[in-house]
């Protein structure tokens, strides 16, 4: 497992030009993410949170400012930064096992180590027994779990998740949030989660970054000093959730 490094986002801005009109998406965003922490980024639609994540992953390279991981500039994708998308994006012609193995395609490990890693990660997400199934045979939740396994299999030091549970029903979402928390506690890597679900953001995150739209900026960073594993009915969690929600809705929280 590679050493988690500090992620440094400095004065990052981005615009889209649509038909001679310049639309600012992000405006001078600065943020530092500590190694091993779970960071939630939450905000209304259009606040640029997904855009920020894509810049972090390296799928998008056009921006102003600096993004550094450790002392390296982010100039493209890296095997050290895994990503889980909102759609599972599994390859339909591969079995689950082969899909998870996709993450090890460019790994320098030997065959045995790869096989072992695949097996471990399928177990980690609770899909043992489904190795030879095809994606269309799985439910949405199961497919997304496979996507998480794929994102983790080559042991990146950072995992980015772009609204990973957004397409799932509430019950599955709840369950997977708990599982994600367990996985994070076990793997101890940096995780950055983008979501529009405030409960999810507070439940999972050590810190919650609240973003506001047009242009995308950080409104507030709320620290969640509740120890893991967390209980959803914890009153301090509930209070913090209300605080974050109020921030998003620009209403001062009632005392």
């Amino acid at each position: 497992m590679s050493q988690s490094a500090v992620i440094d986002i400095r004065d990052v801005s981005k615009q889209y030009t649509v038909k001679n009109e310049v639309l600012p998406v992000l405006e001078r965003l600065s943020l530092t993410i500590n190694p091993g922490e779970f960071l939630s980024i939450v905000g209304a639609s259009g606040c640029g949170k997904s855009t920020l994540l894509r810049l972090l992953v390296g799928l998008d390279r056009e921006y102003q400012g600096e993004i550094r991981v450790g002392d390296q500039q982010v100039t493209g994708t890296s095997l050290d930064r895994g990503i889980v998308f909102q759609e599972h994006r599994l390859f339909p012609w591969l079995t689950i096992e082969q899909n998870v193995g996709l993450g090890l395609e460019n790994s320098p490990w030997g065959e045995d180590k790869k096989k072992q890693a695949i097996k471990e990660h399928i177990e980690l997400v609770g899909l043992t027994g489904f190795e030879s199934a095809y994606p269309h045979q799985l439910s949405g939740g199961m497919a997304q779990r496979a996507a998480i396994a794929r994102g983790l299999v080559n042991r990146p030091s950072i995992l980015l998740l772009d609204e990973p549970f957004g397409a799932l029903d509430a019950l599955t979402r709840s369950r997977l949030q708990g599982e994600l928390q367990n996985i994070w506690q076990r793997e101890k890597i940096t995780m950055i989660l983008v979501t529009h679900d405030v409960d999810e953001a507070v439940y999972l995150g050590d810190r919650v970054v609240v973003m506001q739209p047009r242009p995308g900026r950080i409104r507030k960073v709320v620290a969640v000093d509740v120890p893991h594993p967390r209980d959803r009915s914890d009153p301090s969690l509930k209070a913090l959730t209300e605080e974050v929600r109020a921030e998003i809705l620009h209403v001062s929280p009632s005392n």
Partner: protein, 264 residues
């Protein structure tokens, strides 16, 4: 499913199957009646019974099987040639935008010209014998393969391409592991169509170019001796072979593409 529900479902599907047979049976009956009683002024149609008689004759004395084999051999050669070239060309169009920009419009224009229109030119440039026929058959197979391979490669979803980028796939890896499998259904569609069109091209080539053993030859002989039963026999045989080729292609498609979900 309860026993009564199952049996009523079965009888429903039987009913549907039978309904489907109504039109073909009526057509067959009409065919026989019209030719037998000369009901309509149908120019040169032979009766089903006459065709059947000719069939047995051909099998016994006309070396039907060797004719059939000759046609199939021609067909296969042209099909393989045309499909191979088609896959290369279609892939080029799909993988490199510059190739698409340069060659796409010309191909689009050429596509508008019916394949048979090239026969006069082919007969001048390649003669009238075997090479010309194979070139024509290859041409017939070429078009559908190019269109389908091009579409298959271009419609690889952006979402999946991003996954490949996230895992730092090289261009070769992206092609082998993502583009090729994703485009495979379309490639198979193209090959399927090419199989059908190359068979038609085979018959056309045999009929229009120099006579040589083959099913088309059957039709030429029949035409020359005004033996309409022979011509019709050729047509029916051609249809049967085409139908079998189609079934083989469909079966191969569903075998290789097992992982696909049947939508709609």
């Amino acid at each position: 499913m309860s026993a009564s529900a199952a049996s009523s479902a079965a009888s429903l599907s039987t009913a549907r199957f039978l309904r489907g047979l109504v039109v073909p049976l009526i057509a067959l009956l009409a065919w026989e009646l019209i030719t037998h009683y000369k009901l309509a002024n149908v120019h040169l149609l032979a009766s089903p019974s006459a065709v059947l008689k000719n069939l047995t004759f051909q099998i016994e004395e006309g070396e039907l099987f060797s004719q059939l084999l000759a046609s199939l051999r021609r067909d296969l050669t042209g099909f393989l040639l045309g499909s191979f070239a088609g896959v290369l060309f279609g892939s080029a169009l799909g993988l490199w935008r510059i190739a698409d920009r340069l060659l796409g419009p010309s191909f689009d224009a050429a596509k508008q010209v019916a394949v048979f229109a090239w026969i006069p030119l082919i007969s001048v440039w390649f003669g009238n014998a075997e090479p010309a026929k194979i070139v024509f058959i290859a041409l017939a197979a070429f078009y559908p393969v190019v269109v389908n391979v091009h579409e298959g490669i271009r419609s690889v979803s952006r979402e999946h391409v991003e996954v490949a980028r996230a895992f730092r796939f090289s261009r070769l890896q992206t092609f082998k592991k993502l583009i090729l499998p994703a485009a495979l259904p379309s490639i198979f569609s193209g090959l399927h169509l090419a199989l059908i069109y190359s068979w038609l091209g085979t018959l056309g080539a045999e009929y229009l170019l120099a006579p040589a053993p083959g099913i088309g030859n059957l039709m030429i002989e029949g035409r020359e001796s005004l033996a309409m039963d022979k011509v019709l026999l050729g047509v029916i045989l051609a249809g049967l072979v085409g139908f079998s080729l189609n079934s083989v292609a469909t079966r191969a498609e569903s075998y290789f593409l097992r992982w696909r979900v049947r939508n709609a």
